[in-house]
Symmetry: C2
Subunit: 197 residues, 2 copies
């Protein structure tokens, strides 16, 4: 009789993430993992950024969604490689899936890969995808209390984007509270205020 020792999900994910990080480093590719709630503006950020960045860099996008390929369709016009991952209800991307997506890309011809994670402020924060940087995006209508109420993502992120600042005057968004909480959670975290629209 044989006893099979299974890796824990977390351990397997971390090991694969390490492999990815090593592979991308050897190819000189910078990978960004973009995480936010549903509807904070991740796809619009890419829509506004890709035309500028693609003048200088070779870019690909890995697009994660629970259902539909709507976001991938929106990015089609920018004429860059897009790998669409439909999680069929799954609440996060994992490194195994990213590894398979990378197999579909020509890594000898890329500088930057953007991962647009599934819209979820909780689960994606726990899964290392082998990225160089996590970006935590939050939009003003969601309220200033999001960092303190969902601290795990903000603790692990390298950049926070505060989007939809064009709506600030209409909302009771307490900027002091927002910045104070961010400082308490992750003193190193830079915040970039944007209106992607």
């Amino acid at each position: 009789m044989e006893i099979k020792v299974m890796q824990s999900v977390t351990e397997a994910n971390e090991n694969k993430a390490k492999e990815i990080r090593k592979l991308l480093k050897s190819k000189g590719i910078f990978m960004v993992n973009l995480i936010s709630s549903p509807g904070s503006g991740k796809t619009l950020l890419l829509e506004q950024t890709l035309p500028i960045l693609k003048k200088k860099y070779k870019i690909a996008v890995i697009e994660g969604d629970v259902a539909t390929d709507k976001d991938a369709q929106r990015l089609m016009q920018y004429d860059i490689p897009i790998i669409m991952i439909n999680t069929r209800g799954g609440c996060h991307l994992d490194s195994q899936t990213i590894s398979k997506a990378l197999n579909e890309l020509n890594l000898n011809n890329l500088d930057i890969i953007f991962i647009e994670n599934v819209g979820n402020l909780i689960c994606p924060a726990e899964f290392d995808l082998g990225e160089d940087e996590k970006i935590a995006m939050v939009s003003t209508p969601e309220g200033a209390d999001k960092p303190i109420k969902y601290p795990y993502l903000f603790r692990g992120a390298g950049l926070c984007i505060l989007n939809k600042t064009d709506l600030l005057d209409l909302l009771n968004f307490n900027k002091n509270e927002f910045y104070k909480d961010i400082k308490n959670i992750n003193r190193e975290l830079d915040v970039l205020e944007l209106s992607c629209k």
Copy 2:
């Protein structure tokens, strides 16, 4: 040697949910499971609704959060029983936890229980809590494509609340698309347009 057969997480959750449903029916209590993205306005909906409903009904709230007791604190002033569940990073509430919360309430003296689930459009949709009705809440700044992109919740909900309609004029929110998608996902689902603010 003994072989222990463990129930699957899903099966155990469903069995406990059935127990809860039976218990609450015997007590004549109606339980609502309120689900949305972070910052769609679940707590504000309760803040606006409780003062009106409590004139006629005996109400309790079970408050789920990943971290902090900020939402529970906001509801303290309404002088009703509040059970706070801190999931410490967990992405949904389950029926086992709700069962424990119900043990803390006097079920002989209640008409309605509101569960404010963790802010997440994905995972909470999969966990039956023994509620009578799921309410799927979505706010206009999140975009009209939320039902089609996160269909599981809308398929299982008895009511959809579209919140923050006061911002509609400022957003590119396509109402036709929103209602068309809802009809395709769940023909029975009623939509209530609100501005909780």
